[in-house]
């Protein structure tokens, strides 16, 4: 019970930040910012890296990290693109293949981390080179295009004004929230992340849990890759390389503890919303370069870490006094 309360605190704080930010944006840039079209673009843009942040986030909750999600996404996009080119009609088959590939890549990561005991950071560092390499080999180094129109129409499809990509993002958020907070699998992931040794003594098969966690992350990355294939109508081996860092950053902003064991999916989702709004807001100022986003994100990451540190310190001090 206590753990759930604690996570709620963090989500509550994030929601307050989001609302304050919306107010500031609304007051200073009311007319140009509060337009449905801007929110639609935001919805489209955030889905891809938002999804990957969730994948990376669950790996971090399990005590690891996934640096390869961007490259899994690219690989899946390329594979889907290639199979759509070859057999134009079977879009669904292409989607299924690429989801399978994503899950397999994730499972491979999980295997390296669990059975071979390579530290997660290193294992995914190696496997991202591998996945990127495979993508380069498959695509011949250039971008894969010639995607059927029926598929690319998903990129522009809106349902009652909401972009399809954003709906997928929400769907994944809902499913993952359910998995992580309501199923025994989710609880086990938290336990493995908090203390792997304890988890073994509690009768949890750590290796299986870790493989499943990375597999989920790979699967989510595949969804992100498919969405980006639909949005930009092509796939490339080195697309979105800067997302890797952003994903970790978002997960940490969303309250995930880099040492594992803490964090929640809604927290990550709200952090995605905050960051996307921030960068769209900055875009409304023509003379502020887009690169300032990096600066602000970096400051935000370290700032949030320090704030969380101070709050937790105060809390433990209070608890110590009470006892």
């Amino acid at each position: 019970m206590k753990r759930i309360r604690k996570i709620d605190d963090n989500v509550f704080r994030l929601i307050i930040i989001l609302i304050t930010f919306l107010l500031i944006a609304g007051i200073t840039k009311g007319g140009t910012f509060m337009k449905p079209s801007i929110f639609q673009t935001m919805g489209k843009q955030l889905a891809e890296y938002g999804l990957m942040s969730i994948g990376c986030g669950i790996c971090m909750i399990s005590g690891g990290i996934d640096l390869s999600c961007v490259y899994i996404a690219n690989l899946c996009g390329i594979i889907a693109g290639l199979s759509m080119q070859k057999s134009g009609s079977s879009i669904i088959v292409a989607i299924l293949i690429s989801l399978l590939v994503g899950a397999a890549c994730g499972a491979f990561n999980g295997f390296l981390v669990s059975y071979l005991r390579i530290p997660a950071m290193l294992a995914t560092l190696g496997s991202y080179q591998l996945f990127q390499g495979i993508s380069v080999v498959l695509s011949g180094g250039s971008s894969v295009s010639g995607i059927p129109d029926t598929y690319t129409s998903l990129g522009t499809l809106t349902i009652i004004g909401i972009p399809f990509a954003f709906i997928m993002f929400l769907l994944v958020v809902l499913i993952m929230t359910f998995i992580m907070s309501k199923t025994t699998f989710g609880t086990k992931v938290y336990l493995v992340g908090t203390n792997a040794k304890c988890a073994i003594f509690a009768g949890i098969k750590n290796n299986t849990i870790i493989i499943k966690t990375y597999m989920l992350s790979g699967l989510i990355a595949a969804v992100a890759g498919l969405l980006s294939l639909a949005r930009i109508n092509s796939a490339k081996a080195d697309f979105g390389t800067s997302y890797t860092m952003q994903c970790i950053l978002i997960a940490v902003l969303g309250g995930v503890n880099p040492n594992g064991g803490f964090g929640s999916i809604p927290g990550i989702a709200i952090a995605v919303l905050i960051l996307q709004m921030l960068s769209s807001y900055l875009n409304t100022f023509p003379d502020i370069s887009n690169y300032y986003r990096d600066l602000i994100w970096g400051v935000a990451l370290i700032g949030v870490l320090i704030i969380n540190f101070v709050i937790n310190k105060k809390k433990t001090a209070r608890l110590a006094k009470m006892s």
Partner: protein, 342 residues
């Protein structure tokens, strides 16, 4: 005889030995397939492309051995060399080249100090902190300064044109030259070797990485050493950054980012342990050599460049899986033995 055997045994147990063996076998294979590996221009080419990664490798080694991963060095390199080059332009500086290097090192040290301060004061994981700071540095470089490609000041250009060694392959007519920056690399490694092995501070670097609490009890000031390491990392990164631009004769702001992963992979291959406390400069050089060889020489064997990343990824995974499994099995063996003894 016995001591020789002991010495052999000791060498065989080191990761560096195996990396050396792999390098040897690989180079013989490449030589056998193409006949061009041991050509003088190829060797000089490899030495040349090793310069920057090897300097970065010292940063990565110091960080890993004492604290944890540091991924900010490419951006510290980019930002500090940009600032020092700009200062040289603004002041119309035309003195000796090393003054620019010193200015760069001051700024690098400041940026490293920011890393060190946050890591020491709040005890956050160094990976996350350095990710954050490299994002900040990249924002300052490309956002605030709007850095673009530019030519180097005269004095650096002159320095870049100096060559230490120029060779020409008689058969193919291809030439290659080793720039002066190679000397910087050699000097840095000698200094690092002496400090790490023969001074108290150097031993402290290993001690705090091995076991923080024991090191503190033994009288090492953990916070100060850690802070110092990040400051020095910043300085080394600045040197690497300026060397890079000197070697390419231009300042290219966007070419720096992304280099960290390969460097980290190289030092891990060379036997540096992710959990801290273990790692040697010899391993850094060998690991970097292996990865440079793979990237430079695959094409000699007739393997298309497209396969490069596949090979690097494969080498990293295999190279890290073996030591990881080894330590795990050793630990298990020891546990079994301890169990029997009890």
């Amino acid at each position: 005889m016995n001591t020789l055997k002991n010495k052999m045994n000791k060498y065989v147990k080191q990761t560096e030995f195996w990396v050396f063996l792999i390098i040897l076998v690989l180079s013989l294979i490449i030589q056998g397939r193409s006949g061009a590996f041991f050509a003088n221009n190829n060797l000089v080419d490899i030495a040349r492309s090793m310069i920057c990664p090897s300097i970065y490798a010292i940063c990565a080694l110091l960080a890993f051995v004492s604290t944890g991963p540091d991924v900010s060095f490419p951006l510290i390199a980019a930002l500090s060399s940009y600032i020092s080059i700009m200062i040289a332009y603004k002041t119309n500086f035309d003195g000796p080249w090393f003054v620019i290097f010193l200015v760069g090192m001051v700024f690098g040290a400041l940026m490293g100090a920011l890393n060190g301060f946050i890591i020491v004061k709040y005890k956050f994981p160094s990976l996350i902190v350095t990710l954050g700071t490299s994002s900040i540095f990249s924002g300052i470089l490309l956002g605030a300064f709007e850095a673009e490609r530019m030519d180097l000041p005269e004095t650096l250009q002159r320095f870049g044109k100096l060559t230490l060694l120029a060779v020409k392959n008689e058969k193919t007519g291809l030439g290659s030259s080793l720039p002066m920056t190679f000397l910087i690399l050699v000097v840095l490694y000698i200094i690092a070797y002496l400090i790490l092995n023969y001074t108290l501070v150097g031993r402290g670097v290993y001690a705090i990485g091995g076991d923080e609490i024991s090191a503190e009890r033994a009288g090492f000031s953990v916070g100060k050493i850690r802070f110092g390491i990040f400051v020095i990392n910043g300085m080394i990164a600045a040197i690497a950054g300026l060397s890079y631009s000197v070697m390419s004769m231009r300042y290219l702001p966007t070419e720096y980012a992304g280099g960290e992963m390969v460097v980290i992979a190289a030092i891990i291959l060379g036997g540096t342990r992710l959990t801290g406390g273990v790692g040697t400069l010899k391993g850094c050089i060998l690991g970097t050599l292996l990865l440079t060889m793979v990237t430079n020489s695959l094409i000699l064997v007739g393997i298309s460049v497209y396969w490069q990343k596949v090979f690097i990824g494969g080498i990293i995974i295999i190279g890290t899986a073996i030591p990881a499994l080894q330590t795990y099995l050793n630990k298990k063996k020891k546990e079994v033995k301890a169990g029997e003894a009890a």
